[in-house]
């Protein structure tokens, strides 16, 4: 192993409970210089992983939130015609109007390529964009370079970014794209793991509160016909809400009082189902 790669070994971060398996995968992907594609239910920490890598390896994190209408070129660079037009009319800026390069603004991928140091580039929810987006990105991933058509210049990655790509598992990405990535599916944490996660976020938490909330949380997750099941994020917010309520006692949860259901269930139908279940069956 080269000295360099041992320096950039990912070992976890302060607010992120790392599964050792996932740590291996991250390290292998970094060593092989391959993007890591993460799938899994919402709230399993796909996005958090990128934050954790950036924090742990002290690299800047660049986040590209993919939108459905996005074109790849927007993520690479943008040619700011309006400013140039404005400058050419008024001539009061320091920019040189005849030099188009001064009006090129880097997009997120462009920023990662031109950064002074190695960065973590998170491409979040790539499945939102259409297949063209992914196909176009293949070239960029392969070459680690892209062309700026307006000035006929090729931008090469100065430091190869650590790519973390997330997808929400609704549809599979195209084969050639998958071929260029390493893949991992993050399973929903089990109660033991969840306990660790809760402890990381609330080091001071009362033991009984943690146990009761987690137990209640997993039972609520099992409710049928719920469209969006509460995930880690909801649990953490819920604990925060319960902590903030002076009247709340952890014992109540075991008795069947489940306050602040709205923190866990965001869709009105889901909320109804959960509220009914709690009231009628006395789940707990």
């Amino acid at each position: 192993m080269t000295e360099n790669s041992s320096v950039t070994r990912f070992t976890g971060a302060a607010r992120y409970v790392l599964d050792p398996e996932l740590a291996d995968i991250v390290n292998i992907s970094m060593a092989l210089e391959m993007p890591l594609l993460l799938k899994g239910e919402p709230g399993t920490g796909k996005t958090m992983l990128a934050h954790a890598i950036a924090e742990n390896l002290q690299m800047p994190l660049i986040v590209l939130n993919v939108k459905s209408s996005m074109k790849l070129v927007e993520t690479l660079y943008q040619y700011d015609t309006l400013t140039r037009l404005n400058d050419s009319r008024f001539g009061d800026s320091k920019r040189d109007v005849s030099n188009i390069e001064e009006y090129i603004r880097m997009g997120k991928i462009g920023q990662a390529f031109t950064a002074d140091q190695r960065t973590v580039l998170l491409i979040d929810e790539i499945d939102k964009a259409d297949t063209d987006f992914q196909d176009d990105m293949l070239d960029v991933l392969d070459q680690m370079a892209f062309d700026i058509i307006e000035i006929d210049k090729t931008i090469r990655a100065r430091h190869r970014p650590v790519f973390v790509i997330t997808s929400n598992a609704k549809k599979d990405l195209s084969d050639p794209f998958l071929g260029r990535c390493n893949f991992h599916h993050i399973a929903f944490p089990d109660p033991k793991m969840m306990r660790k996660i809760v402890n990381v976020h609330f080091p001071q938490i009362d033991r009984q509160l943690a146990e009761n909330t987690i137990a209640a949380f997993y039972r609520l997750r099992e409710l049928e016909a719920v469209e969006k099941r509460p995930a880690t994020r909801e649990l953490l917010n819920w604990i925060r809400a319960l902590n903030a309520d002076p009247d709340f006692r952890p014992k109540d949860l075991a008795k069947g009082d489940v306050p602040y259901l709205g923190v866990l269930f965001k869709k009105s139908q889901d909320y109804q189902i959960a509220a009914n279940a709690v009231r009628r069956r006395r789940l707990f």
């Binding site: 192993m1 398996e21 291996d24 995968i25 390290n27 292998i28 992907s29 060593a31 092989l32 391959m34 890591l36 594609l37 799938k39 459905s68 015609t81 309006l82 037009l85 404005n86 009319r89 939102k128 259409d130 297949t131 598992a169 609704k170 549809k171 599979d172 195209s174 084969d175 998958l178 071929g179 990535c181 390493n182 893949f183 991992h184 599916h185 016909a225």
Partner: protein, 396 residues
Amino acid sequence: MFIDFFYKLKDVGIPVKPTAFLTLHRALDMGLVQSLGEFYTASRSILVKSERYFDLFDQVFAHHFEGAEMPDGEAFELDEMAKVMLEAWLQDPKTLAEAMGIDENKLRRMSPDELIDYFKERLKEQTGRHDGGGRWIGTGGTSPVGHSGYHPGGMRVGGVSRNRSALKVAMDRRYRDYALSGPLRQSMMGEALKRLRHLVPSGPRDQVNIDETLYQTMKNGGEIEIVFERSLKDRLNVILAIDNGGWSMEPYIPVVQTLFNHARSQFKVLETYFFHNTIYDYLWGDAARYKKPKRIDELAAADPATRLILVGDASMAPYELMATDGSIHIEERSGQPSIERLKFLARTFRHAVWLNPVPQHMWGYTRTIAAIAQIFAMFELSIDGLEKAIAHLMAR
């Protein structure tokens, strides 16, 4: 190294690629893998690209490195066959009972699970495939169960019938590959569906039109005049109704599913419904056709510019289409035969098509296809047919 392992993965049906295998070796060469545990994570994340195959991968890995038992492909096949037989039993208990030479009433008393087990037992009696033999499953033989046989009470297991009214699937599992050939079709479907994006200006005027801005600025003697235009938005409403019921559609559901997966992200408003064979009083919002009924009459209130896309094989018993009580659901008794409902839909939505997975040259053999094709413009569920269908939908 590990070439056996690689081929074993391939054999059980995990789509592993040679390039990924080379990447794995690169990882090994770099000394990144020090233990079997690390080899497990590394090989899985590099070779396997979908969580659907994780389970299979685990089994092969356990077999190869720890001598565990190989995943039992045959058990799976038996499962599938037994399921087909269960379907057959539900359709027509008498024929099946006779074919198997057992008392119909005995079968009748069993629960579905017991039935499946029972069928599996019977299937196990036959080891391996045989065609033309005298045991009771195979092809072209004298046994009562199997296809192309001539036993009078015989029934079909596997093989494809011309008029889609006999059992299919079981032995040959010829559609097993649909799942894997899916992606190819998916991207093609996506291409075709993109044409449905009917771009019309809407939304706020928030996009700068560069060309027009320059032109107006020049016209203005150099004073900047910025011209905004509306961003383009998709305004097409689409109602997609899929026949997901019964075994006659079963081989096509994966294909329809790919189409439907793609459709979801394509349009501004997309409503998806399900039906079984044909439409009576209700469409269903859930795939189980149970929880979310939608009255057909309510659709009259929908925007008439909505595009209606029906997907189904349109193959059924004629009475299901023509009779006033054709529906198998007791609550659907409005007294209108399904064909009237279809006509109503065709009147409500000027832009409607029926996509049929049955190849076009076979349409003439099934009466109900011909009848429905008179109501809706019918197209084959293929790239070609899809293109034509979309051209039809976009016509004024």
